[in-house]
């Protein structure tokens, strides 16, 4: 079917198989490869993007379901040579990433979390990111990054 999605402010329209997953539409049709696939059971969150401003796992949404809607990926948070988004900057400053594979999804989940809870506690960040797996960081610095991005002091 013909699917039109506004991705990072840019309309992307393409005829794709009905079964096309949003994550593949983003990676293969829109050419935005930051959004990653880390599992096949809606578990890992590496594919997290914003759909109409809310975090979703794009491996468990059909491109057809997003037809006519807006999607934001990590590429849409800042231009490659432009200013970093607050959350991006905080992930870098706090060393909230190592291998980087979970990072685009983790950043998008964090953006969504902060939209709902602008001043979370560290425990609220942990609970809020339970759907995003990271194998490298032990999560400590990811939590610090979200705290930092919220404008609160990182004290550990």
């Amino acid at each position: 079917m013909k699917v039109s999605i506004e991705v990072n402010g840019r309309p992307v329209t393409e005829e794709v198989p009905d079964r096309t997953l949003l994550v593949h539409f983003l990676r293969d049709t829109a050419g935005l490869t930051a959004t990653n696939i880390g599992c096949d059971t809606t578990s890992c969150g590496a594919c997290t993007v914003l759909l109409d401003g809310e975090s979703v796992k794009s491996c468990t949404v059909l491109a057809a379901q997003a037809d006519g809607h807006e999607v934001t990926t990590v590429e849409g948070l800042s231009a490659v040579d432009g200013d970093l988004h607050l959350v991006q900057r905080a992930f870098r400053e706090q060393h909230g990433l190592q291998c980087g594979f979970c990072t685009p999804g983790m950043i998008m989940a964090s953006v969504s979390l902060l939209a709902d809870n602008p001043k979370p506690t560290r425990d609220e960040v942990r609970a809020g990111l339970e759907g995003n797996l990271c194998r490298c960081t032990g999560y400590h610095n990811i939590v610090s990054a979200v705290i930092d991005a919220s404008g609160q002091e990182v004290d550990r």
Binding site: C39, A79, L97, G100, E130, R135, N141
Partner: protein, 751 residues
């Protein structure tokens, strides 16, 4: 001012956080245009004879370019361990997940449709699904060998007389359970043969150069005919060392089809087909005096090697590190490795050392519990003292430096150990159903233990920029930034003028890569050595330019200029000016650092858990850690490595386990079933700093990649047992899941 030792944010990050990096499945290289997509058909049965494979229906499916089985391959034998692992199953399958056929299609979405149509006739055989079943030997994986035991090391028979003078002897069998490395990026690769007959392979690997040699060998071409590129790699943890067998089959298929091939496995495939780690069954026996002095220690290791042993150094490395941080007068070890109808076992963060540490640290706690002594006191009574270094252990390890008692004291003080013990006692007296548990682990490990060296190259260009190539292959560790910091300090060149490259065999032909926490001590020393060679070249060139004797010149690293010693106001030369005069247009040094020998990082961890004795649920409340790996180049990434290690180590103690049913069917084959730890299960980590240098490399550094994993597992494990100790529980195996804790309590209460 030196930047080494200061907190520097990573150079690697910007691309990763804005564009998501370029992992192998992200590649859109021209050479891969028109690539076929690939999927392996894998065995759904643990042990079976293959009666036949009918690929006709699959071949007729939409978009199918080829379906291949073992009969098609014509590759040479797979260079492997004691038994040969076929590239694709040849007559028999020996684990669920073993590759049986390869399907190639035009489109990614056609893969699963076609793979479903490959019809394999399996004639089931009895499965050997556990170490116990392997030792029973009723069913043999390789009947021709006559046994499921594929390697024996150490003492043939133990000598019980070593425990004769002991007042107390404790013995316990401890399962160090099988876990999945589970890097967030699964395995993936792309292959393109050029018109010049050269293969380019993009591989998610920790070791491009090893992979290159493996692929060249298995495909029967010269090493010069294979180029391996490791793009961004989404974690490895030991399970992406070199090239897996799948890579050879895919490289072959790309040639056979005459078009590029790209492959990325699914997570469910990854959890059954990427190697697993740990999987040992260890029996410890510890004896000593009532005052807590250990007189004799024995470790008996049984390694489950999986269906096809790939890395049999694991159990012997466990033997080598058996005594940990203790001065045990008499030690006996032995190891046996067995084959089972399960996924092959290989390195996983720590690889042999966590198992040794878990065994000896449980043993120390069991010994202390038997004596009614505080586990901290028993450890202090047996530490190898600082004045004994360098220290050769009874099992042959040659420790460099260690301050084991100091590490433990720092941790206990930072944690408030005495107050925690008092709180534990208060809860017990009040009958609180939520018990507090304290777990100590003191550890030493070995890094750079492979004994190999590493390459490093440094170029300084006439524009003053520095480009360095390392044979190490970082994939998240932040080594690039650390190496740039070392160069910046040594050369006096600002960080933003330094680029560190790695992972392309055409750029770095000779290297070993990243595993065993070797990268900073070996790769870093190589970069240091190359920098010093460049400095030596520059000194001669600058001497000519300044008409001074080379010995009278000095490099002012504050300003990054060459000048005559003692005459700072005279003419100075920038790196650019010196590089301009170099004979081949740049200063360059390409070295092999081969002088490094293994180092022995150490530390101590304290874990605090709460256990709900009504449900069995364990909550990890705190981990306080000293991880001493010598001088710290970048505290930011150093702490990051420790955090990651603590998370993975704690996860093994609390949650993670790969399980099979008795028929060898995996029951944890997706991330919905495998208990990969999340942020919600872990506490903030409390890190205490300590830095004891080594003299075994140019930088004085030890490896930090695995250390915290090694200490944290037994610390958390010991904490859970400690929480239950007043309720009759002496030991329970990891992971300390709710049902196991509940079962242990039910048994403990019954006693």
């Amino acid at each position: 001012m030196s930047i080494v030792g200061t907190r520097v944010v990573r150079q690697e990050d910007r691309n990763l956080i804005t564009a998501g990096g370029t992992y192998v499945d992200d590649l859109r290289a021209e050479a891969l245009s028109g690539a076929a997509h690939a999927v392996f058909v894998r065995s759904p049965i643990a042990h079976a004879r293959i009666g036949g494979i009918d690929v006709s229906e699959a071949k007729a499916a939409p978009g199918v370019l080829g379906v291949f089985t073992a009969a098609d391959l014509g590759l040479g034998p797979h260079p492997a361990g004691p038994v040969e692992e076929p590239w694709l199953a040849d007559g028999v399958v020996r684990y669920v997940g073993e590759p049986v056929a390869l399907v190639l299609t035009e489109e990614r979405y056609q893969l699963a449709d076609a793979a479903e149509l490959v019809d394999v006739d399996y004639e089931p055989l009895d499965a050997v699904a556990s170490i116990g079943a392997a030792l029973d030997g009723e069913t043999l994986l390789y009947p021709a060998t006559g046994s499921n035991i594929v390697q024996v090391n150490g003492m043939a028979e133990f000598d019980d007389s070593i425990f004769e003078g002991c007042e107390v002897v404790v013995t316990q069998t401890i399962a160090n359970q099988r876990v999945a490395p589970a890097p967030l990026e699964v395995r993936g690769a792309s292959f393109a043969w050029g018109e010049d007959g050269r293969l380019t392979a993009w591989l998610s690997t920790q070791n491009a150069q090893i992979a290159r040699s493996q692929l060249a060998g298995s495909l029967g071409v010269g090493e010069e005919s294979v180029r391996v590129i490791a793009p961004d790699v989404g974690g490895g943890f030991g399970a992406k060392i070199g090239a897996d067998p799948e890579a050879t089959v895919l490289g072959w298929a790309a040639k056979r089809l005459g078009r590029p091939v790209r492959w990325v496995e699914s997570r469910s495939e990854n959890l059954t087909s990427m190697t697993h780690g740990r999987a040992q069954l260890n029996t410890v026996t510890i004896g000593g005096k009532r005052d807590g002095t250990v007189l004799a220690y024995r470790l008996d290791v049984i390694q489950d090697a999986g269906a096809y042993p790939r890395t049999l150094f694991l159990p012997t490395l466990t033997e080598l590190m058996a005594v940990g941080v203790y001065r045990f007068p008499v030690v006996q070890t032995r190891s046996r490795a067995v084959v089972t109808n399960t996924t092959p076992i290989a390195a996983y963060r720590g690889a042999g050392r966590p198992e040794a540490t878990a065994a000896v640290e449980r043993a120390m706690d069991l010994f202390a519990a038997e004596l009614g002594l505080d586990p901290a006191d028993v450890r202090r009574a047996n530490f190898i003292p600082p004045e004994d270094f360098p220290y050769r252990t009874p099992t042959g390890a040659f420790y460099d430096t260690g301050e084991y008692a100091a590490a433990l004291d720092k941790v206990l003080e930072a944690a408030g150990y005495a107050e925690l013990r008092a709180e534990q006692q208060r809860r017990r007296e009040a009958g609180d159903p939520v018990e507090l548990g304290l777990g100590i682990a003191a550890y030493v490990e070995i890094t750079g233990g492979d004994g190999g060296g590493e390459s490093g190259r440094v170029d300084i260009h006439p524009d003053g920029s520095v480009v360095a190539w390392t044979g190490s292959s970082p994939h998240g560790q932040g080594l690039g930034t650390s190496l740039a910091m070392l160069l910046s300090d040594r050369l006096g060149v600002p960080l933003d003028r330094i680029t560190v490259r790695h992972g392309d065999t055409d750029e770095v032909p000779k290297a070993i890569g990243t595993f065993g926490s070797r990268s900073l001590q070996l790769g870093g020393s190589a970069i240091r050595q190359a920098a010093d060679e460049v400095i030596a070249q520059a000194r001669d060139l600058a001497a000519d330019l300044l008409e001074a004797a080379p010995d009278d010149l000095e490099l002012d690293v504050e300003r990054g200029v060459w000048q005559v010693r003692g005459a700072p106001s005279s003419t100075v030369l920038s790196w650019a000016q010196v590089a301009e005069t170099a004979s081949d247009g740049k200063l360059t040094a390409d070295v092999w650092f081969g002088d490094g020998s293994p180092t022995f990082p150490f530390g101590a961890h304290l874990a605090v858990v709460e256990v709900d004795t009504e449900t069995g649920k364990v909550e990890l409340r705190r981990i306080v850690a000293v991880d001493d790996a010598g001088p710290i180049v970048n505290p930011l990434t150093f702490r990051g490595q420790r955090h990651g290690g603590l998370g993975q180590g704690a996860a093994q103690a609390l949650l993670e386990v790969v399980t099979y049913d008795e028929d060898g069917n995996p029951t944890t084959a997706s991330l919905a079933d495998y208990s990969f730890v999340t942020a919600a299960e872990l506490p903030d980590f409390e890190l205490v700093d300590m830095a004891t240098p080594t003299d075994r490399n140019l930088l004085g550094v030890k490896g930090i990649g695995e250390a915290a994993t090694i200490g944290s597992t037994p610390a958390v494990h010991n904490a859970v047992v400690d929480a239950l100790s007043a309720r009759g529980v002496r030991h329970l195996d990891m992971p300390t899941t709710p049902i196991r804790v509940w079962a242990a309590l039910s048994e403990g209460n019954a006693q």
